[in-house]
Amino acid sequence: MRKDLAIAAALIVSVGALLYAPTATRAQEEVVIGLLCDRTGATQTVGVNVCPGYHDYIALINSKGGVEGHRIRVVEIDHEFKVPQAMEAYERQKKEGAVLISLYGTPHTQALSQKLAEDRIPGTSPGFGIAASADGSRYPFLFPIAATYYSQAAAAVKFVKDQLGGSLKGKKIAYLFYDNPSGKEPLPVLGELSRQEGFELRTFAVPPPGVEMGAQVLDIAQRYRADFVISHLFGRSPSVSIKELKRAGYPLRKVVAFVWGAAEADIEAAGGFGVAEGYYAMQFAGVGSDYPVLDEIRAMYRKQGQEPPKVMASTVYYNRGVLIAAIHVEAVRNALKAKRGQKITGADVKAGFEGIKGATFGGLLPPLEITAADHEGGGWVQIFQAKGGKFVKATDWFKAYPEVVAKEVKATGIQ
């Protein structure tokens, strides 16, 4: 009985703590941003690098006196890649006064899309989410701010075309994809391009959890004998694809991966850069540590007497975190300028996003230009190649087939 009472008491205390936990008193001039993250769920290997990058950039901005004299407070909540948790987290961030939400994960972006529009709070989904949300008139409060899967597909085809000598007529391209909605999203664009460019497209689905794809890869290498592979995989599967392609004797310099199969971690897990030599990886943020912003962040840490954190070594994801934060700060700055320092709302930040143009941070960001109609900012990507122990830039920022992408954006999306 005493045991039961103790448990009951513990329960009551924890519920009480929940209801009466101190809500942080917020200063008037603070700007609150909600950051959804996943550090324990299905995509944690991404989250643990992206989110610190985000925080570091905001800390840098705050250490320099904030944006237009306003400090930025980030409310990070981990949603374990689960939708109910993401809903709760969003409501919490809204309660904290968030004027901007950094979304995380495609299912969560879809689940929150209607809510964001109703609450008039902009959310960003860089490199994932709903491709059709590039169309700002249909999804006024969703901002992909980086290349959607449609743009990535178009860019991949363009890249393959350049690699194969300028023409794709009669070539065979294999699309190796994770068999979930995100993986299938680019299919209409690829299909349209295969008609336009006259190449043969065959798709190879990798069902979740994607820890094994021997058969698909053998098919690509030995039966289909593809001229090039476009791979769109998540989680652990990119590294498996590198290993399996290698094993099946397929040259990795004929593989280009979408943005979530393109990090140092994927290469390391596949056995290191020596194994993955030649692998092409698409990026929507600059890769490597030679950017002035990153130097400033390192300097900030040193000034506090600390070593720069280890996560900075994972430059692909860390830099993406910095990029997201940088674009957010730009949007908030535009909003604050427009309101002359008064309290800003979600709608102001939305307008702020739509005024972003041409801040490239020394090459970390593409030459974005976000407008009321184009929330993607152009759909720029850059392709890097695993070469001699690191990622080496293979192309400059580019975008491809904008008319095909635009047509698909108009035609598809969520029913």
Binding site: L18, D78, I414
Partner: protein, 355 residues
């Protein structure tokens, strides 16, 4: 809580058989009703209402799963998939045929019931873990079908945006409106399940759980009732999926994957198998647990660790605590929170005396 049972004189059979034989029980019921219908919605911030709404949805799903697992003794690891069946059925009806929610919601539930009954067919032959894995197979197969049949899923995105439910031309969108919308269904679900368990069907379920061969000998059509249990349970799951869809405004099967099935199992096991009240407790517990741990960490973690470390610590610690609490409850109080509640009630019944 303190239910004095002395001094109650019953003078008729009707009074003796009443649902709430004690005045205090009646008063408690009225108090709870007033609390949920009048006090909470007015007193709470929309954020807390949003948590309550998530709990409401979870309660319905947990009750449904408990009917199958706790009352009938069949295991299902596929309830997430049944929810998605309900969700997509309702979403398709609402979008393509413009069905109002009061039509698409029960139809979504019925579709899920049908699918659930089909999945339940192997339960005739197999039981225990084999059945659990067969339902796991159903989870994967249903997910696969939704992912690949665009006429179900509405396109490669496998997402269907659903308009907000409307009542008398008024859209139900805010958390407060959603609260009342969901409250109605929670009450229906609880009362429905309580009544079901007092009926012939409920008794048959329990007999099958306790010993299916013995149940067959005393004349219960085991196969029929097993399928019925699957169907009713899946109906609840389907309704959960539909409500979820209306709550979020979108149907997407990635919201109903294996992890969801497991969360619901955790709810009923922690709450108490074979107990409606337990399902409610479990749903509350599992929904609040991550939130409570996070709040505790945010409030007190800053004193011990640096900001960045806390951010990394919270989610991992939450996962660990979540697992540990599940194990703790299983080891310490196998009959779950509902048993805990009964013990406490019995203790206070005669308080301050020992018995």
């Amino acid at each position: 809580m303190i239910q004095r049972e002395c001094g109650v004189l019953k003078t008729s059979y009707a009074a003796d058989m009443a649902l709430y034989p004690l005045p205090i029980a009646r008063k408690t019921m009225v108090a709870i009703a007033v609390l949920f219908a009048l006090v909470l919605p007015v007193a709470l911030d929309p954020y807390y209402l949003s948590i309550l709404n998530l709990i409401f949805i979870a309660v319905i799903g947990a009750i449904g799963l408990n009917i199958l697992v706790g009352y009938t003794g069949q295991i299902s690891v596929g309830h997430g998939a049944f929810m998605s069946v309900g969700a997509y059925t309702a979403a398709n009806l609402a979008v393509r045929l413009d069905f109002p929610f009061w039509l698409s919601l029960p139809l979504g539930g019925l579709m899920a019931a049908l699918v659930g009954a089909i999945v339940g067919i192997p339960s005739l032959r197999i039981k225990g873990l084999y059945l659990a894995i067969a339902t796991l197979a159903a989870q994967f197969i249903i997910e696969w079908m939704i992912n690949h049949f665009t006429w179900i899923s509405g396109g490669v995105q496998a997402s269907i945006e659903v308009p907000r439910p409307t009542l008398f031309g008024h859209g139900i969108a805010s958390q407060l409106e959603m609260y009342f919308f969901l409250l109605v269904f929670v009450v229906l679900a609880v009362v429905g399940a309580l009544n079901l368990m007092r009926s012939r069907i409920g008794r048959a379920f329990v007999a099958i759980r306790d010993h299916d061969i013995a149940a067959q000998i005393i004349g219960i059509d085991v196969f029929r009732y097993k399928l019925l249990a699957f169907a009713i349970s899946s109906f609840y799951a389907g309704v959960t999926g539909v409500l979820y869809t209306y709550y979020l405004g979108i149907a997407n099967y990635e919201q109903f994957q294996l992890g969801v099935s497991i969360d619901y199992l955790a709810m009923i096991i922690i709450g108490g198998l074979g107990s409606i009240l337990g399902s409610v407790f479990g749903a509350v517990f599992i929904t609040l647990l991550p939130i409570a741990i996070r709040w505790a960490m945010e409030s007190f973690g800053g004193a011990l660790f640096s900001q960045q470390a806390v951010l990394n610590l919270i989610p991992n610690l939450r996962l660990i605590l979540f697992g540990l609490l599940i194990i703790f409850f299983l080891v310490v109080e196998p009959e779950g929170l509902s048993r805990l509640w009964r013990n406490i009630r019995n203790y206070f019944r005669v308080w301050p005396f020992a018995y």
